[in-house]
Symmetry: C2
Subunit: 474 residues, 2 copies
């Protein structure tokens, strides 16, 4: 299956090969090993007395929860993130969310690489038995989307550099606003970087005690943060394709077009729904002026992609808008992004299948391209996995806390989709509940990525075809 074409001698090349081999042979174990290691390290660091602002030891459960929440860039918290941690603790968290955010980007890209490598092989096999001889020359993975093999080091560098450039740009945009808000130069610098990293990695932790409350109706701050969250949530393949191909939008790959179209549609529909449902709720946006209300609603809608900053008290929101946000958070962001959830392309493929069925089309089609049917099977698997995780965790926490479904479902889906918005339930959970919620974050972040890759990479030869039979459905 794999061949070494050139024998390499440099140490870095040998290391790259080693990582490449491990990732290729068992991408799922690779991802799980890396993430578990990162969580253990950060839990240890945060449990040290030096991480606490007053030098006490943080309970192991709280340190573990915060570590998982940081590495999975979820942003749910069980302690007051602005006042609980010392500078040491804060730096550990900032490094952790950068490593977690960029790490998943890279991991997901490695997965994509493994999958695309297999696809390359598979496509050639399929194309050989295909009536169309031109198919062999351009496989199903388009140029802008395929990632060159054996370049994980280079990939990591590219991802890290892009992330850093974007975060510095965001920090520069935020910095003057914080100065105006009355912070001194040092605090404004620190906080603008913290905000930028927290936004681009879609974590959603805030460095200041009041969170986003002071900026609740500030168009500048909200717009900059929303843009950073949006960029992080569409995913690295999209950012990469856009940075290279924005001059020729028609030639962008289906993945890029589908991600952007679905993301923007969800943001617009979500914003309208939240604005309408909360318009007269004075405990959330109802007391603001007629310009701020749609602005805050749009910001919240973007945050469900999975930014997680909230300028309002979500426990005061109507059940109807909480449910709308549940649905948006469950979908999450783009594939190979810092966002969580089942991913926008997964939802899009499900709907494409329904449209094709309704029109009686033989194939799923979008943007003048045919989507192969096995992508639908993968989408169904990821969605079922997500629904099962969410249902299990919700039933467990409902029984444990006897809290209303509105709040439990919201915080569980927020954990699964690594959105990090919260009705405040997470903080009040007993230890067993915190651990289940941490497991949900882990399953939503690492599980979805590894599941998708493991499934897409699995392939078995079938020796014979069984007779076909058609059950009635619906």
């Amino acid at each position: 299956m794999r061949t070494k074409l050139v024998s390499r001698t440099t140490a870095s090349a040998r290391f790259r090969d080693m990582v490449d081999d491990f990732a290729t042979v068992s991408p799922a174990r690779f991802a799980i090993a890396i993430f578990t290691g990162l969580v253990v390290v950060l839990t240890t660091l945060l449990a040290l007395p030096i991480s606490h602002v007053s030098g006490e030891q943080t309970s192991l459960t709280d340190a573990f929860f915060t570590a998982v929440s940081t590495i999975c860039v979820t942003g749910l918290s069980v302690v007051d993130m602005a006042t609980h941690w010392s500078t040491f603790g804060n730096v550990a968290i900032l490094v952790g969310l950068q490593v977690g955010g960029i790490g998943v980007l890279t991991l997901a890209s490695i997965m994509g690489l493994v999958v695309s490598r297999r696809l390359g092989l598979r496509t050639r096999l399929m194309a050989a038995s295909d009536s169309n001889p031109s198919r062999i020359h351009h496989g199903p993975v388009s140029e802008s989307q395929a990632i060159r093999l054996g370049e994980i080091g280079g990939l990591l560098a590219t991802v890290a550099l892009s992330a850093l450039v974007i975060e510095i740009a965001v920090a520069i945009l935020i910095f003057p606003r914080l100065l105006v808000a009355g912070f001194d130069g040092w605090s404004a610098t620190w906080q603008s970087f913290y905000y930028a990293a927290s936004a681009f990695t879609n974590t959603g932790f805030t460095p200041n005690a009041d969170g986003l409350e002071p900026f609740k109706t500030d168009p500048w701050m909200l717009t900059v943060l929303a843009l950073a969250v949006f960029l992080g949530s569409v995913g690295f393949p999209v950012i990469f394709a856009l940075s290279r191909g924005w001059r020729n939008p028609r030639r962008l790959s289906v993945h890029v077009k589908l991600t952007l179209f679905t993301t923007v549609s969800l943001i617009v529909l979500g914003a309208i729904a939240i604005a309408v449902l909360e318009w007269n709720n004075t405990a959330t946006i109802g007391a603001d002026d007629a310009v701020s209300r749609p602005l805050t609603a749009t910001f919240l809608s973007v945050m469900t992609r999975s930014g997680g900053f909230s300028p309002i008290d979500l426990s005061q929101a109507n059940g109807s808008s909480l449910l709308v946000m549940d649905m948006l958070m469950f979908v999450g962001g783009g594939s190979a992004s810092t966002a969580g959830g089942i991913k926008v392309t997964t939802l899009a493929v499900l709907f494409l299948a329904a449209f094709a069925e309704a029109r009686g089309d033989e194939d799923m089609q979008v943007f003048s391209r045919r989507i192969p049917i096995d992508v639908l099977r993968l989408a169904v698997s990821v969605t079922l996995w997500g629904a099962t995780i969410v249902a299990g965790a919700t039933i467990f926490l409902l029984q444990l806390t006897k809290a209303p479904l509105d709040f439990v479902l919201f915080d569980v889906i927020s954990a699964f989709g690594t959105s990090g918005l919260s009705t405040g339930l997470a903080e009040q959970l007993p230890d067993a509940g915190k651990i289940v919620l941490a497991a949900t974050m882990w399953a939503g972040r690492v599980g979805t990525v590894t599941l998708a890759a493991a499934l897409a990479a699995a392939q078995r030869r079938q020796l014979f075809k069984r007779p076909e039979e058609r059950p009635i459905v619906g």
Copy 2:
């Protein structure tokens, strides 16, 4: 596409042909026309003063809601069904639920006929271009599942007769229990038939004022009702196949095996979950003895298939078990049955797709048969339709009532799945809410059946194949 091979002369044959043609040309409009007609007639009858026990006029909304609930065999009520209606009203309701229950059975079978007819054509087309020449002789629809063409009259007669035989058997089993409970001969006769029809058609209305409360821990009554509900909910194709092929269970079609396996699995898992989650809840089953608790839990689990009888006050149940029942009710019963929901085979096909994906199999396989991939697309469409209806109605009712999500979601899914279990929310709804809930019942009952048939029947020739491209999902 269609050819008349033999010219028929008898009037009944001509009528059969006419219905057949209408059903074939536009099965969706056929179903919608029939159901709308039935609802209008029953609404009119129930709005007459003669239907009310004290001769007053029932409000049009309540009459409409009850009519939809009856025709769609949902069993949700906004008035006290045992005391509100006169004998005239009760007979109208009893006839309505029989017509509704058997009507949908027949309609669904007609749909199945249309679909299987198209499949026959399509299979031949596919088989002609297939490498396996033996495929042409046995199509994807197995013998026990295929329904002969041009026999809608006979089909209706068979369905109605089977239903009547089963209902009489159930009534005979219930009658002595009602005598023992102290009812006089006339009441016991009337109520045993009402119970039998209400159970087999999966409606769930009770004729006596106390409902099932007096029989809450009665194994005989609960078992008989559960069996009647089970038979109604597995669907006519399964009953028919079992009555002909029970001596040779290995030769049953995949549809029959898949329906029975999934139904029994859901009942067992549901019973265990409800028993565990409610074990110590003294407001529901916690005060009963250790034999009654699993019995009631099993009964409730069967009722989510969509029987709708409840021996306990569901508003006192834990949020966790309500959510478990939500999931069970959303799935509902078998295809072409008196049950609602997305149907057990739909769920099974989704899971088969996930299993095939996890194992890397090229095809979905179960019971030594291959399931064609286009069945998955239909299953995804039906599930998305259901989820969209439920989400829309829930958001609307949450905003309208500001009631907790636990209750709103339960009653909406109960309406969609035509289960009819209720936390009591339905009764308290303002008129707008009642109408939305009635629309949800309608969409869940008529919508799902017609949608599945319309989708399965739609077919478009594609003149050219677009280039294939693969988005990243998950």
